[in-house]
């Protein structure tokens, strides 16, 4: 009985997560032996517009629909109607996770033995992923959550908790409560590709967890660097222009 459960679980997991070992790409290593995910990466599609409409992004459930609880679905539709004014990104707020990895602005990953850091061009956001802590901080919440990571073979697994309820997943009003819990998986799939998966669970909003999968591409220009997208500055400039 136990064996069947184990096999069943493995099949389910296999359906949901990318099997790095089976695909055969072995990434180079950092000096301290971590798979090297470093570099400047960006999405080349636009999943941020609408996760459900972005082809192939929601890989679980198979129908590609976010499994909202009924009351939550009503609120999503309300959000979507008011998206232009209500999208937190429109107020230059922090995008949250996983949305921050899905925007059309590059990110840069840095790795050190105890900590992985991700710098974002979008409003100079920053995430620290702590490899030596195994518990989330208590009784506090963050826009981008609290990230603790470990290696599963060549995949970086990041457990993100301590979310507030203020961010959206996309421009289409997909949202969550402060019970949100995200498990990310970062896997090199080739010299210039990085596969990003995020399993999203929030029992206050969704009837079951759901998973997205997006490929990020390396920026290969020589001397590539993150630029600056300074949302509040651009808003002020635009406001001043209109005021004249």
């Amino acid at each position: 009985m136990t064996n069947r459960l184990v096999v069943c679980a493995e099949l389910l997991l296999g359906a949901m997560v990318y099997d790095a070992a089976a695909q055969g790409y072995k990434p180079p290593r950092t000096a301290d032996g971590q798979p090297d995910l470093q570099g400047i990466w960006e999405v080349r599609t636009s999943p941020d517009k609408d996760l459900e409409k972005a082809k192939g992004v929601i890989v679980d459930p198979k129908n590609g629909k976010i499994p909202y609880l009924p009351a939550a679905l009503a609120r999503k539709k309300e959000n979507e109607k008011n998206s232009t004014s209500a999208d937190p990104l429109g107020k230059c707020y922090m995008p949250g996770v996983p949305r921050i990895n899905l925007l059309s602005y590059p990110l840069q990953i840095f790795q050190t033995p105890g900590q992985i850091a991700i710098a974002y061009e979008y409003i100079h956001n920053w995430r620290n992923i702590y490899l030596k802590r195994d518990k989330h901080l208590e009784a506090i919440d963050f826009w981008q959550g609290d990230s603790i990571g470990h290696w599963d073979g060549d995949t970086l697994v990041v457990d993100v908790g301590d979310f507030n309820d203020q961010t959206w997943f996309d421009k289409a009003g997909d949202y969550h409560s402060d019970a949100l819990h995200v498990v990310e998986r970062y896997t090199r799939t080739g010299p210039d590709t990085l596969l990003y998966e995020a399993r999203i669970e929030d029992p206050k909003t969704f009837s079951m967890p759901w998973t997205i999968r997006v490929e990020l591409h390396r920026s290969t220009q020589p001397n590539a660097r993150l630029m600056e997208y300074e949302c509040s500055y651009l808003r002020e400039v635009a406001g001043k222009k209109e005021g004249k």
């Binding site: 208590e138 009784a139 406001g239 001043k240």
Partner: protein, 144 residues
């Protein structure tokens, strides 16, 4: 001025009014270091925001009127490092807030410490706690 441009001017004005303020001289600009006060009231809300969190509490005056007070506290990270948690003070809690009164005469103060009815004491700023409050900190006990 056309109606549209007037509307835009108003909108820009509102936008500016909503800007966060992180000026590090803000303490001296807003609060009177020579006017330490202690106020007791009932918590209505706590906003954990930058640059300063706010503890909102109601004070019943002797004449039965209710004053809506706001106490400015450390930024969220400062509070957390002082031991505050999101559930440290909750709406309905009776609190005693020690701090400095606002210069503009409103029901507004800087909170040095917050004591709860069940005997807990939470510190929001101490004169030498530069690290948590930033260089401007709350001042040392007034000398001038």
């Amino acid at each position: 001025m056309t109606k549209n441009s007037a509307l835009v001017v108003v909108c820009v004005g509102l936008l500016l009014a909503a800007l966060p303020a992180v000026a590090h001289h803000s303490f001296a600009a807003e609060f009177d270091a020579s006017k330490p006060i202690t106020v007791k009231g009932t918590v209505t809300r706590m906003d954990w925001v930058n640059p300063h969190s706010h503890l909102l509490f109601d004070v019943k005056g002797e004449d039965g009127t209710v004053e809506h007070w706001s106490a400015e506290c450390l930024p969220p990270n400062g509070l957390y490092r002082q031991g505050w948690r999101k559930d440290s003070v909750k709406p309905g809690d009776e609190v005693t807030v020690v701090g400095f009164k606002a210069k503009d005469g409103s029901f507004y103060m800087w909170a040095q410490s917050v004591a709860t009815a069940d005997g807990r004491r939470l510190f929001s700023g101490r004169p030498e706690d530069r690290g948590a409050t930033g260089p401007e900190g709350p001042p040392a006990p007034p000398k001038e």
